[in-house]
Structures are given as structure tokens and as C-alpha cells.
């Protein structure tokens, strides 16, 4: 498949939107972050890898849940340009 330079630039600009909530947001010191996607990159980017790349606080363990595009997802799901990724600290509703 041939991809134009413009399309590659759009993909790179789309990137991954990363969101944090509640105590995790306050520990990290930010709520939203844009992670650029390398169109030429061969390795799949996953939430687990992004957690380390972004140097988020603490260990990435089962207390942290992942949502991709508003749906719960596995931490090893490959991310796509344009995805919205959220790291969710322990939920306490109701």
C-alpha cells in the first residue's frame, strides 16, 4: 500500500490522546497528553508501554485499568493513531 506524505503527516498528528483521572492525575501533574505516533515505527505501541514511556507514577499493576476510546481494554492492546487512551485509578462509584 502506498501512503502519501500528507497522509503520513495526518497520522503522526493524530497520535494518541492520553487521559488521567482523579488521584492518578494529581500524582502525575497532568490531565491530558498528546503522544505522537511515529508513522515509520514498526513496534506496536500498547498502553502498558505508554505507561512507562510517560513515566507515570508507581507500578503499572492490576489496580490501574485501561480504557481505549471509552471502552475497557487490555493493557497490551495495540494502539492506533487517533485513539483516546485513559488510565483509570481504582473506581469508587455509587
Amino acid at each position: 500500500m502506498v501512503v502519501s506524505v500528507e497522509a503520513m503527516q495526518q497520522i503522526a498528528q493524530a497520535g494518541i490522546k492520553v487521559r488521567l483521572f482523579a488521584g492518578l492525575r494529581e500524582q502525575a501533574g497532568w490531565a491530558e497528553h498528546h503522544w505522537p505516533v511515529d508513522p515509520g515505527g514498526e513496534a506496536e505501541l500498547t498502553p502498558r508501554q505508554l505507561w512507562w514511556n510517560l513515566q507515570l507514577p508507581g507500578a503499572f499493576d492490576q489496580r490501574i485499568r485501561v480504557a481505549i476510546n471509552h471502552q475497557f481494554a487490555d493493557a497490551d492492546t495495540p494502539l492506533q493513531p487517533g485513539d483516546e487512551l485513559a488510565f483509570l485509578p481504582p473506581i469508587s462509584g455509587g
Partner: protein, 150 residues
């Protein structure tokens, strides 16, 4: 199956909204449901550490929270074969004594109504993205890292 879900950013009176919901399901002067189960949750005046609670702050994930509530309610109602469902949940700053959640289920029998109500309540407490922060009277605050025991 009739499903209504709403997030309220200001205080609501659960019994008034429950009555209104019942009236909407009373087409010919009698309730459409032979059995109803209701749960109203209110904010305690005591923080997790035993101190006085000033307020509870409820954060949510706009878009995902509503979507998740709807998916949880749909699945639960279908599983229990109930006829109607109402879920109201507060967001923002909630004061002690104020309602934080209302779940109401209409069904043909008490068993499905009660089971669905309890199951949906537990599901939303654990699987709908809400986060509680306790504000104490001394101005300090703590994010809660889980739910109170059943």
C-alpha cells in the same frame, strides 16, 4: 425494556424523581410493573478515617461513564428479564445526607426486580468510571481507592 440513565450535577430528591418515573409507567391508573425494587444511596457524614466529612467530590469520565452505565444496565436488565430501569447518579460536590445514587427496577416478579437492582448497583460501583474524594472539615482531602464493603 425502558431504560433511563442520568447524571446530576446538582442535588436531586430521589423520592420525587422516583414518583415521577412511576407515574410515567402508569398509563391507565395502575403501575405497569407488578414488582419494583429501589435503592437510594446517600453520602455519610463520616469519612473513611472516622473524621467528620465536609463533602464528597465525585469525578467521572465524560462520555465513558454514561456509555458504561448504559451498557451495564442493558446487560443486567436483559439477564434478569425486567421491564424498566432508572439509574440516577450524582457528580460534582455532594453533601452529607444528599442522595448520590438511585437505582429502580420494574419487573413482573420480586425476585428478578431485587436481583437486578442489587446486581446493577454493584456493577456500577465497580465498573462505571466514578471516583470519590473525601473533603474533611479541616480542609484536607483524600481520593478513595475502592468501595465500602457490601
Amino acid at each position: 425494556m425502558q431504560l433511563r440513565i442520568a447524571l446530576h450535577s446538582t442535588a436531586f430528591e430521589p423520592l420525587d424523581l422516583l414518583r415521577r418515573w412511576q407515574e410515567e409507567h402508569t398509563p391507565q391508573g395502575h403501575s405497569a410493573s407488578a414488582a419494583e425494587a429501589h435503592f437510594i444511596g446517600r453520602v455519610r457524614g463520616v469519612a473513611a478515617d472516622g473524621g467528620d466529612l465536609e463533602a464528597l467530590e465525585l469525578e467521572h469520565y465524560p462520555g465513558m461513564t454514561e456509555q458504561q452505565l448504559e451498557q451495564l444496565a442493558q446487560a443486567c436488565c436483559i439477564r434478569h428479564n425486567v421491564t424498566s430501569c432508572l439509574v440516577l447518579h450524582r457528580i460534582g460536590r455532594v453533601l452529607p445526607g444528599e442522595a448520590i445514587v438511585l437505582v429502580a427496577i420494574g419487573a413482573d416478579r420480586r425476585g428478578p426486580a431485587q436481583r437486578c437492582c442489587q446486581e446493577l448497583l454493584e456493577a456500577l460501583k465497580h465498573d462505571a468510571p466514578f471516583w470519590k474524594r473525601e473533603w474533611r472539615t479541616d480542609g484536607s482531602s483524600t481520593w478513595l481507592s475502592g468501595n465500602t464493603p457490601l
